[in-house]
């Protein structure tokens, strides 16, 4: 039988206290140490199972007393408390906390006897503490070889064992803290160290708003995925619930068992202390009595003499009182004095003010009076001046204008402003008319003369003609006709003229008066007439008389 490295993992007896499933390593003072730890199991050295030492099957005289107690080959032989130091962690079938721990591991060894028997096989079948399996396997194989031995079928040259787990499950020492990063890294390349500025947050953090949105989205996505998974899980066919009284347990069913150690089994334990009790009160300390008792007697007046005691008090009382009273009286007096002085002063001041006001009033009145008088006086003088000026002006004006009146009248008279209205009227009305009439008469005269001249000329011409004719004939008869016709003198040329003049005179006689213009002509004509009148004879006497009368008239008119 290859007792080989029977690495039996002694199941640790789990004490109540210790947590984490760490038991004591069954360090049996075993002779054999597994020389090879082939799989690199770096932790524990198993107490080599003596061929008989541990094997429960053998139940043999192991130093393990507890083993000795069991007759059954099985799991969990409690190990005697061996030196733990180097093997802090029991390597043994430790159920993983996350998965269904085999409860039976933790049962007291002593209980293992019967009840575990049937389960033990199962237990070590499903055991995950990998290292246990080899043990168990080994146990089993132990078992088997024993059985085999018993049956004598099969032995291993190298015992089959589960693939050892590379991961250390236990710490080397309890005291050594768990090293998170096994190797010391360069801090510069450590991802956990923040690089860059520490005063500004990375861009993703600063804008708070997108983050919540993103967070929300992420949460929703997570929730959806979870829901999906749950739904799927529900849909997925599951194992049916365990039968009454049984419980499902996980088991490795692969071909090669594997020690699974990616999670370290952790178990929470609690403990609690009792509630605090109140501190009991300190007992009264009464020192022991020492000394002697002695007594004495006091009579009435001995201890306390009122007068004596009261004296200082009275001194203080009275002294302070008097002192204080004095002080206060002094203060009050001073204040009262001050006030009295103030009032007296105010009185005086008031009186003086009144006096001042009175004087001011007086002064003002005087001044006003003076002003008034002055003004009055000034007005009087002013008036006086004015009056004298007026008087002088008046006198002067009087004198200046004394002969104004006569001169005025003279000048007016000279300018013809005073006129006799009748005279004016005659001058304005009558004389122009007269002149007009005279003019008219004169014109008439002129016109008549002109006409006469024409007539005479005509006649003369005719006569001439006739004469010339009549040189052949008589010249005189026709001229009488001609003369009588026009009513003028017979003399041809002179008679014509005379006729003319008489015509004009006759015409003139119609006029009332003459104008001096006609005088020279009338005088001339009468003169001519007079000159030529003499030669006239018969027919002219009539005419000359009226001529003469006319002449006279014309003379008289001319004379005028």
């Amino acid at each position: 039988m290859d007792a080989g490295p029977v690495k039996e993992r002694p199941v640790h007896r789990r004490a109540r206290g210790p947590a984490g499933g760490r038991g004591y390593e069954p360090e049996v003072s075993i002779t054999e140490v597994p020389s090879g730890n082939p799989a690199g199991r770096n932790c524990l050295k198993f107490p080599p199972p003596g061929g008989t030492s541990r094997c429960p099957a053998t139940g043999g005289g192991a130093a393990d007393s507890l083993q000795a107690t069991r007759g059954k080959p099985r799991v969990a032989p409690p190990c005697c408390a061996g030196p733990l130091a180097s093997h802090p962690l029991p390597r043994e079938p430790r159920p993983r906390a996350s998965q269904h721990p085999c409860p039976w591991h933790y049962l007291h060894v002593s209980d293992f006897h019967d009840s575990l028997t049937p389960t033990c096989l199962r237990a070590h079948l499903h055991r995950r503490g990998g290292s246990s399996t080899p043990d168990m396997a080994s146990a089993m194989t132990d078992h088997n070889p024993r059985a085999a031995e018993a049956s004598g079928t099969y032995t291993y040259t190298s015992r089959p064992r589960a693939v050892p787990c590379q991961r250390r499950r236990y710490r080397d020492s309890l005291l050594q803290p768990v090293d998170e990063s096994m190797t010391y890294g360069n801090i510069m390349y450590d991802r956990r160290v923040i690089r860059g500025n520490t005063y500004a947050l990375p861009a993703g953090q600063v804008p708070g708003q997108p983050d919540p949105l993103e967070l929300q989205r992420q949460q929703q996505a997570r929730r959806k995925s979870l829901a999906r998974k749950r739904a799927q899980a529900q849909l997925r066919p599951r194992t049916p619930e365990p039968v009454e009284g049984r419980k499902h347990v996980d088991v490795q069913t692969e071909l090669y068992l594997e020690e699974i150690a990616d999670r370290i089994v952790e178990v929470d334990m609690e403990c609690q202390t009792d509630a605090f009790l109140d501190r009991p009160p300190t007992p009264l300390f009464i020192p022991a009595k020492t000394g002697k008792d002695v007594a004495t007697q006091i009579l009435i007046g001995e201890l306390f003499d009122f007068d004596l005691e009261v004296k200082p008090m009275l001194q203080v009382l009275v002294g302070k009182t008097i002192e204080q009273a004095l002080l206060e009286v002094m203060e009050e007096e001073e204040l009262a004095n001050l006030r009295a002085n103030q009032y007296a002063y105010e009185e005086i001041r008031n009186v003086e003010l009144a006096e001042v006001q009175r004087l001011e009033e007086q002064e003002r009145r005087h001044r006003e009076e003076k002003e008034r008088r002055k003004k009055q006086q000034w007005e009087i003088i002013h008036k006086h001046n004015e009056t004298s000026q007026k008087i002088s002006a008046r006198a002067f004006a009087q004198r200046y204008l004394a002969d104004l009146l006569p001169s005025v009248f003279d000048s007016l008279r000279n300018s013809g402003y005073f006129y006799d209205p009748i005279e004016r009227d005659i001058e304005i009305g009558f004389l122009p008319w007269l002149m007009n009439e005279v003019e008219k008469t004169m014109e008439h005269c002129m016109v008549g003369r002109t006409v006469l001249d024409m007539l005479i000329r005509e006649v003369v011409e005719r006569r001439l003609n006739n004469y010339e004719h009549k040189e052949d004939t008589q010249p005189s008869m026709r001229s009488d006709d001609v003369f009588r016709g026009p009513n003028t003198v017979a003399d041809p040329s002179v008679s014509l003229e005379l006729q003319e003049s008489t015509i004009s005179q006759s015409q003139k006689s119609l006029l009332d008066k003459h104008s001096q213009e006609s005088n020279p002509t009338e005088e001339g004509e009468p003169v001519s007439k007079n000159d030529q009148g003499e030669p006239k004879e018969s027919g002219q006497e009539e005419l000359s008389q009226p001529e003469g009368s006319w002449e006279q008239e014309s003379n008289s008119a001319g004379g005028q």
Partner: protein, 217 residues
Amino acid sequence: MPLPDTMFCAQQIHIPPELPDILKQFTKAAIRTQPVDVLQWSAGYFSALSRGDPLPVKDRIEMPVATQKTDTGLTQGLLKVLHKQCSHKQYVELKDLEKKWKNLCLPIEKFRAILELDPCDEKIEWIKFLALGCSSLGGSLKAAMKNVCEILTEDPEGGPARIPFDTFSYIYQYLSGLDPDHPPGERELFLATLREKSESRKNNMIGLSDFYLGKKT
């Protein structure tokens, strides 16, 4: 609280809490009033205090004047004290007045002398007594009136001591009536002028400045 029967130490002596105050007031009053006979005056003080009457205390310290016209000890301040004590009633009993007079440690002969000026039986009108007291203070009528004004006035000390004109005229007439020197005509004239002044001020008060030309010291 009565003293316990046995006292052991000085701290057990109990002083009533009102005592210091009473003592202080008393001391101050005594200092101000300067009574000749402290005991007599104290008796008067405390009896007045216990009765609740006005106290015979001067309001101001009155320094004793070096030259006094009358050696009676009666001063304006004392008259003021009396006035304070008696002015609430119009008539005072003579007995009462005498007691007060004594409490002020004033000579009783003076009291009698004053009373002789205007004899009366049981009661006397207080104003008259005051006027008589004032006249005994000062020499002339005017001085008496000045004192009256200063005593009766309600104005603060030093200010214009004004009293109602009616009071003034009453006192004046009373005093001048007693005094045989003053002819009534002059009195009337004086009063008439003063009346005009008081009415012109529209408060019917007459002050010192109206009739008394104070000596400026």
